[in-house]
């Protein structure tokens, strides 16, 4: 059963006599324990969609259901939503981490005592216990982001919305946030993640949806999408020179000898013959061409542009 079901969401903004169709018929589903990477260029409609899911922007048409409830009709549906929104501080800098957790916990429907109890547990889980009484403004950017995620989880929502969670973080802090996302998903949390860091999306997501000009242009399991855009060729890197006789044999097997490497574009079982032909040259690397999410993303976006 899906935690999030969006059907045919539409949103057009009107400003000074001009209309911008921000989102046109977006449908998404996310199951418990699943991370959906929601990707797209700037202005593609990612944040508008996220805000429609969070009840902060009202759709012109279409429906949102979080754990079966519509946040635009039933405010208590928001009890099932946690969100860290991009470009926002999300927490009060003049309060300590524990005070933020208590305040937002009560705002999401918990008692103060329960919010404090869960807050302490989250601070421990996110390695922030020793900072629980420091002012949030004195924490590093990475710690503030961890706190924002902790605050979004204090009421134990079934759906977590993370809008650019690694933006502006250094490598170590970004790694910590990635580890947290993995752990949360492993614990059954449904997560929608938007990011411009496509390597992050590739590492974390189970499924990918790519949006362009308000429309979803691709949606699939991350592995399936990568496989779809990956070539069939193998590349073999060797040390030493490939002599003329070997070159001829390799060509007969359908492989192309190049400077220090061989490219083979044939049936996978034929690869063994290619390797045999190279014996006894030291083999440094054998790799099947595999697209990364950046290539897939750029290909899809450019194809759409051409279309």
């Amino acid at each position: 059963m899906s935690v999030l079901v969006c059907e045919k969401l539409q949103k057009t903004f009107h400003s000074r006599g001009r209309s911008t169709r921000a989102v046109q018929g977006v449908s998404l589903r996310v199951a418990p324990g699943e991370v959906l990477a929601f990707l797209g260029p700037n202005g593609a409609g990612k944040t508008t969609t996220i805000k429609m899911i969070a009840g902060l922007v009202r759709p012109d048409a279409g429906t949102v259901r979080v754990a079966g409830r519509d946040p635009h009709r039933d405010p208590w549906a928001l009890r099932e939503v946690g969100a860290v929104l991009e470009g926002n501080r999300n927490v009060y800098w003049r309060l300590t981490p524990l005070e933020n957790l208590e305040y937002f916990g009560v705002l999401r429907g918990l008692s103060a005592a329960e919010a404090r109890r869960r807050g302490r547990a989250l601070l421990e889980r996110f390695d922030l216990t020793d900072k629980q009484n420091a002012l949030t403004q004195q924490l590093s950017r990475g710690m503030q982001q961890k706190l924002a995620i902790a605050v979004s989880l204090v009421h134990e929502p079934s759906l977590l919305l993370l809008d650019e969670p690694t933006l502006g973080l250094d490598v170590e802090a970004a790694e910590t946030v990635k580890r947290m996302v993995r752990e949360l998903a492993a614990g059954g949390q449904a997560i929608v993640l938007t990011t411009h860091h496509l390597d992050v999306a590739q590492q974390l997501s189970h499924r990918v949806a790519i949006i362009r000009e308000g429309r979803i242009v691709a949606e699939d399991h991350t592995d399936a999408l990568l496989a779809r855009f990956s070539g069939e060729q193998y590349e073999i890197e060797v040390a030493g020179e490939i002599d003329a006789a070997r070159r001829e044999r390799l060509r007969a097997l359908g492989a192309e000898p190049l400077e220090g490497r061989v490219v083979y574009l044939g049936a996978p079982e034929g690869l063994w013959d290619v390797l045999e032909a190279l014996r006894p040259l030291p083999i440094l690397r054998v790799e099947k061409d595999r697209a990364d999410l950046t290539e897939v993303f750029l290909k899809l976006i450019r194809e759409e542009e051409r279309a």
Partner: protein
């Protein structure tokens, strides 16, 4: 709702503690004004509502003026500040809804301001030996006026949500407040009186004038009308604010400025 008021009260106190210089400044200003009033310098309260020449009338007038200003402007300043710092959307993610959260915040803010003012007032009475002498009946119209002021506060909050920068307008509103509190509509007659008393806060302010300046007895009927007017404006303010929240969500206006 009590839970929300409790946590907002705590947040209000913590925020106050985290701006120590601002709090000390506020305390000094309030103390100086009250002390000045006690020493007979009635001009010190500036162009405030003055309900008579006596000290208690001056103090009540000053308290009403500052509380009404606070009630009218606090929500809008808060909304503008939170939109700028980026916590507004997190508040809007509360299942209680923004109207209830901000109503709780208003009540908590009033309690904090009340505690500050009462504390200083008691301290000055102890230090100067001067005792204020006014009937507790004065508190009833004061409360009714504040209900109306909070109603106006929600209406201005609606403007702050939709138009974002309304600082200049808020500053201008001081004059509107002065007009509403200082004009003796209760001494007008006919349509002018009716029109005046349909405006927010005017009936309660009129009753305060009757009690404190003219020494009249407490009239429960007038108080009933003042209370009804205050409640009507509060409900209208909440309704307008709800509509503005809806419009802001339609137009996608809740993000940062």
């Amino acid at each position: 709702m009590l839970r929300l008021i409790g946590i907002e009260f705590k947040r209000g106190l913590l925020m106050l503690r985290r701006y120590p210089m601002e709090m000390v400044g506020q305390l000094i200003v309030i103390t100086m004004i009250f002390y000045g009033l006690f020493l007979g310098a009635r001009y010190i309260a500036g162009p405030t509502a003055q309900f008579g020449e006596r000290l208690d009338a001056l103090v009540v007038g000053y308290v009403l003026w500052t509380f009404a200003l606070f009630a009218i402007g606090d929500l809008s300043w808060g909304l503008m500040d939170e939109a700028r710092t980026g916590t507004l959307e997190q508040v809007f993610l509360s299942p209680y809804g923004p109207s209830r959260v901000y109503l709780a915040r208003n009540v908590a803010g009033l309690l904090v301001t009340l505690a500050l003012n009462l504390g200083i007032l008691l301290l000055i009475q102890l230090l100067t030996g001067v005792r204020l002498d006014f009937s507790p009946a004065v508190l009833a119209p004061l409360g009714a006026v504040l209900l109306g002021a909070y109603g106006l506060g929600f209406m201005l909050g609606a403007l702050a949500l939709l138009f974002k920068r309304i600082q200049a307008f808020l500053n201008l509103f001081q004059f509107v407040l002065m007009f509403l509190i200082m004009t003796p509509f209760e001494q007008f007659s006919g349509t002018a009186r009716l029109a005046g008393e349909l405006l927010p806060m005017t009936i309660g302010a009129g009753q305060l004038r009757a009690l404190m300046a003219r020494g009249e007895a407490f009239d429960p009927v007038v108080f009933g009308l003042a209370l009804a007017s205050g409640l009507a404006y509060l409900i209208a303010g909440l309704w307008v604010f709800d509509r503005a929240v809806r419009a802001a969500k339609e137009r996608g206006l809740l993000g940062g400025y």
